[in-house]
Amino acid sequence: MVTDRYARQVLHWGTEKQKIIEESSLLIAGVGGLGATVSQLLVRAGVGRLCLVDDGHLDWPDLNRQTLYGENDVGKAKLPLAKERLNQINSATEIVELQGRIDETFQIPTAIDGVADCLDNYQSRFALYNSLATGTYFVHGGLDGDHGQVLTLLSGESQALDTVFAGAVQPQGSIPVTPDNAVIIAGLMVNELFSVLWKTPKLLNRCLVISLADFHIDFLDV
């Protein structure tokens, strides 16, 4: 491994926090709008292992925000593409592919230090949260148009996701999603995931609500 590839971030957060990142294992649920950027940034930072879950194939409307893919990928399954691209970015990160849709039968892998909810529907999100072992950190991200949110829950201690978001059902049709908003929410999720790995989450039971329309930031305690 090139020894100075993390030099610029270690200048900021130091070797101890870098070591924690490199020894960590995270599950990324969905490698679409949020997950493509979340997984990419985590790999660039040197996370030890990423377990990716997805069952989708790339379509033209995905290309505006799904930063791991290009035109030649349309029609192909996202998961192997994501693994290939992430390996090209940083071969030191172990990438585990978990092909399939997350539902009530989903069984989460063992030895996971945290979960990134990069899914695009509440049914799967609720099933994912309910699959967690007690004491697992869960970083949720969601967006619509020019607003979005990030929230961290700790399974067994926080209210469950389907309790907090009870009544939140999937809108009919496609949800408006812009490139800038997807990348911004993904970046905020990664920032929080680092904090989770360092056991200092900033958004535990506290939903960060972003509106790009007027650059407004709110916190909703849950």
Binding site: G30, G32, G33, L34, G35, D117, C118, L119, D120, N121, Y122, G141, G142, L143, D144, G145, H147, G148, Q149, Q159, T163, V164, F165, A166, G167, A168, V169, Q170, P171, I175, P176, V177, N205, C207, V209, S211, A213, D214, H216, D218, L220, D221, V222
Partner: protein, 93 residues
Amino acid sequence: MIQIQFFSLIRMLLKQDATEITWAEGDTVQSVLEKTQAEIATPFLHKLLDEKGKPYTGTIILVNRKNILHLQDLQTPVADEDVLAFFPPGAGG
């Protein structure tokens, strides 16, 4: 006083992120909503409730961090100093 917080598109619609409503004995989420509507110039109840007065799915309503669907829905009692929050979370990913 009852603290009312508006998030995301509800905040954008109302052009304000919070207000206070005077508490009265017997207040519920329903009565607080009606009092809030009476004090705010911008109509917003149509964004939260359907023609039958039931909450739309899509906007969550919390009373002191608890979703009213796990309490008594719109008939959830509201006490003085309680905090009500209205939040339509983004569903996309």
